[in-house]
Symmetry: C2
Subunit: 287 residues, 2 copies
């Protein structure tokens, strides 16, 4: 038996910690942007850390990737052009491309090394990288969105690390203005929005910045995610129109042509029911 040890991420902001039992470090690279490490674990497959923060494990990444993609894609009436900012592990791209109506999905991650590591240690997440509808760019997502043709995109998915370091610029008004301009009128912006239990202030601040950029309607969907702080995470969708409906194509979601491990139409509806303490903090009407 291989010796094992415990690898902890102590998350200062929440005063909580998540860890996995690992057997060895498989790889490590210092890219121009960040330090990427891969560990082999006893129970969770491979684990990727960026600058010491848990990014994904083989075992539980399906929760995040399914919830970052399918709710938005089934909420939009007919999504054809999708842009993913970040998402270098390619797991969100794979889920997006499961939708047969998608004609083009651009993934723009600043750090090519994340994708190179994913290809090697999470190959299942990269299985759609050669789909003719996929375009992988390794470039600055802020510049990419700023230069996007206005009104050309149906969905922007911001699949970023936490709002510190390279991803800091993905949580402010200037970036959201670029997203707003690039999106069609009925477009949807979706962003990972951290823990609904301990990081509600961040969700509120993010919604406020989106609001300043012109987005007027929001929906936050919580979901479980063991490898992130508190094990409970969320994504937030934004639309341009005030009072926009976040009803989704439920019949299509029920009849979807692909399998999922977590997402279903019923799960989607369930996630729309915010717990009262979250709803109150976000100043929504109580469910």
């Amino acid at each position: 038996m291989t010796a094992s040890t415990w690898l902890h991420e102590n998350f200062d902001k929440a005063g909580s910690s998540i860890g996995f039992r690992v057997t060895r470090k498989l790889d490590e690279v210092q890219s121009p942007f960040q330090k990427i490490e891969i560990f082999e674990s006893t129970d969770w497959g491979n684990v990727m850390l960026i600058d010491g923060a848990m990014m994904l494990t083989t075992r539980d990444n399906f929760l995040y990737h399914e919830m970052m993609s399918h709710p938005a894609l089934f909420t939009h009436a007919n999504p054809k052009r999708v842009v993913i900012i970040g998402g270098g592990d390619c797991g969100t791209l794979r889920e997006v491309l499961r939708h047969p109506g998608v004609e083009k999905a651009v993934q723009c991650d600043i750090d090519e090394q994340v994708t190179r590591m994913a290809e090697k240690y999470f190959p299942e997440l990269c299985e759609s990288n050669n789909d003719p509808r996929a375009e992988l760019l390794f470039d600055d997502g802020i510049a990419y969105m700023a230069n996007c043709e206005p009104g050309s995109v149906d969905i922007v998915i911001v699949d970023s690390t936490d709002p510190v370091g390279p991803a800091e610029g993905l949580f402010n008004k200037a970036f959201f203005e670029s997203c707003h301009r690039a999106l069609k009128d009925d477009g949807i912006l979706v962003q990972q929005s951290e823990s609904p239990l301990v990081l509600l202030d961040l969700i509120k601040a993010m919604r406020a910045e989106m609001g300043k950029a012109g987005f007027a309607s929001f929906q936050t969907l919580p979901f479980p995610q063991p490898c992130y702080p508190t094990g409970w995470w969320s994504c937030t969708m934004a639309k341009k129109a005030a009072g926009a409906d976040f009803g989704f194509r439920e019949a299509d979601a029920r009849a979807k042509s692909f399998d999922t491990l977590y997402y279903t139409a019923d799960l989607h509806k369930g996630a729309q029911a915010l717990p009262p303490f979250v709803a109150q903090a976000l100043a929504l009407a109580q469910p």
Copy 2:
């Protein structure tokens, strides 16, 4: 500023770990049954550990206590007599007694020291202990259920530690037979059933033991719980009748006379939608 340190629970069975940043140990007692420790944390209020396992924090216990009580109490048509086995921190008892129709709630925990510690460090959980409908016993829950008058109880809530040590006997056929006998025909047994992600085998084994004891219908409801392994937990309800319906008194849940932080009728419905990988593992029809 007080010095702080990180307190981790490394959970061998799942190869995962949960931790909190703590400032000091407030108390410790070795009871005849187990070691109980209380820590003060920087962000989660007080934290109780039993034999090194995180039991509850001030900040996140509402998730567990609300989900161990309200779904079962709103699923039963008219619950009057409730028995809680374990539950020494009194948080489940408090939630049960919020239901005005409950006439009697017996809490039977083998370890009086858990309640003494809760009174001191989680006084808000004990605020209903002097309710005239409450009876607190410090006795063997297995013997209590075995001696219960047959057909006298509407709901049995097994609010226990993990199935090792003092709680081991609360997860087998003999104990479930006692619960079955004590419950009325339309009675409900509800038990905490661990993580739906990594402990599915335990949920299956528990359902199998309940089945051998005569229970014929089951429903498992997942919910977030940051202080337990993987941050994702569940409770499982069992009924005697085959093909029993787990529809609940939705109108009553919407019109409930008390506030909750997590539970709502919509959350309850949402939790009924099991993710496909859980549903498949439990051999239920896909949602």
